[in-house]
Symmetry: C3
Subunit: 265 residues, 3 copies
């Protein structure tokens, strides 16, 4: 299992051509930036969480992204309802267990979603992935207290238990599946200082999974694009504010030259 | 019916002088950017959706903007309550039927709001306006699948049925009323790649309608200002990220020179 | 009571070193920008409002920030629950009475929170602080209709009644406590044109209070950092859009040189 400059480019172009509809049930903090990232890349985002409409929306989407960042009971019900419909239609489900390990409510909800509707891809930071494996890991809020490589065993065990792809992001990103591990070493030191870039990584998994049924590659392509756009953004950033602006611009500009120059596996 | 450089300028100056309070019940995705757009233009935005306070807030506002972008049942109740109070006070109501056509929940809610409290202005993209006319149009999520000119008949029929102004936005914006049609041809190709600019257009209708009781002109002025600020923003944008930043700056900077140079009807 | 260049710097460095977890129950409009401001400064923000988890989250946080900007009944319940846990743990509670005076719902909720869990710091604009004192003050939406100095008496009376620090922000910021008044005169004319900078000021109080138990100084340091970053941001801003981007960058860049050059008490 590997990804290459040309496999990344091919999927980016497919997203730009097809503009897949990505249905997000995500948190309040990142809705705007996530939608902008998907639009900048070329996908078509929709945010919908109301019980009366989530099934219908999941019924027309190319992928469903569930992010538990600002959870509440009615939203959990909507997440399950949307996931059920997505499963029936066999469109990819991507789960972001934001803050798993910080509160039992988050850990439990993420686990239940995963156990009920084995997702195509789970994307989290080191602490979150370890918390999902019930290794008694606690997270400090929503920021990781563990490096991504510490979570490889947990990722492997989750990937096996649910036959899914597990993406652990950090300085190195590990895309873990039963077929092995792909590493992506792109990224920029300022990324953890911008809120919601982890959530954006998850949303991009949705865009790539909507146009590539090989979910290992879809996830790895998404991580590569995140990291490359991050490096592009960092080149002229004065801080996390301009970094965020540049990052959206970079997703829009990203072309063969950038991928060839920067991709680092 | 026409609008001119000087009629646009006069209303912009009036907004800057009076800073009308615009009460928004809008979606989670765009709350921040909408509030910033209203503030940059010179209006005073407030976001309030709680049942215990929406009537009181609509009771002190100069206009009420209702946007169904991230709908849920309690919010619908609040929308009706606020609209009732706005109607009693005879302040303008502006409705944005985000994603009408994508789910029945959205189409139905938008229709019911319009039928119950005939708004002053409805603003939507081509697909949404056609969906409101029950032409069996389906929308792909929240992005339009129809050009604005395809929706002119639907707009005309809505304008007549509810004696209101219908704004169909797209490459050309059509401001449709029983008095005829005004076209605004400003704008920039990058605008559909920034989330919430349609919602911002609707919110600006609220600011203009709060200070100009001729709602046809208010809507047309709002569309002209959107488009002109969009063209200003596009001049130095590297992508949708910097476009969004420039757009807010442009609403703030906008003066006679820009309007004279760029207005295109 | 005074603060100095070196006392400000010391606390900024402590935040960067300790990255205190700041638990925010805040409004939809500013969640993203508030989180980004806290991250840019060096703190670790978490947004959580669900009844099943707020106690647990408040149980691991270094400070609790409650902001009533987009209120609803379930959120009020969560605010009380989180505040109770914060009080038990003796971590600082910071309250932002957004829009107090605009609706009774907001005024009443803010008063009840303050009366029940005497917070460490209350931060508001002139109108809001006067409304909390039941002086019959009405606010126009969420923007202040009174200068900060008009609210000094109200601030003094609140500070005495609840033995807390009251921060009234405006052209001059007044940090009022039973020990006297500290003035901070930093800031930039464009700040009221960016949504949520008041909320950001409150959130920064949370970061400073988490690492400095002298809450008068914590609040004053937060206001100084807001104002200094605002002046830095204003130097190259073309409008409120670029101001907001520069402001986040400035919180990240802020160092001894900036504080020495710009601090104005």
């Amino acid at each position: 299992m590997t990804i290459t400059t040309s496999s990344i480019l091919k999927d980016v172009e497919k997203i730009r051509k097809n503009a897949p509809l990505v249905h997000n049930i995500t948190n309040y903090v990142v809705m705007n930036t996530t939608a902008n990232a998907l639009l900048a890349l070329g996908a078509s985002p929709v945010m919908a969480h109301a019980l009366p409409e989530v099934e219908e929306m999941a019924g027309i989407a190319g992928a469903l992204v569930i992010n538990i960042g600002t959870l509440s009971d009615p939203w959990i019900e909507a997440m399950f309802k949307a996931a059920k419909r997505a499963k029936q239609r066999q469109i990819p489900i991507i789960i972001d267990p934001v803050g798993a390990g910080a509160t039992q409510y988050r850990t439990r909800t993420a686990r239940e979603l995963i156990e009920t509707y084995a997702p195509s891809i789970i994307r989290g930071n080191g602490s979150e992935i370890m918390a999902l494996c019930e290794q008694g890991q606690t997270t400090k809020g929503v920021d990781s207290t563990s490096a991504s490589d510490q979570a490889i065993d947990s990722a492997r065990s989750l990937a096996q238990e649910f036959d899914c792809v597990v993406c652990v992001t950090g300085e190195t990103d590990y895309i873990v599946s039963q077929k092995g591990i792909i590493q992506v070493k792109n990224g920029h030191a300022m990324m953890p200082r911008v809120t919601g870039l982890g959530c954006t990584a998850t949303a991009l998994c949705g865009a790539f999974a909507a146009i590539n049924q090989d979910f290992v590659k879809a996830a790895a392509h998404a991580m590569a694009v995140m990291g490359i756009a991050g490096e592009m953004a960092g080149q002229n950033a004065q801080g996390p504010g301009s970094f965020q602006v540049n990052f959206i611009d970079s997703l829009y500009q990203l072309c063969e030259t950038h991928i060839k120059e920067l991709f680092n596996a």
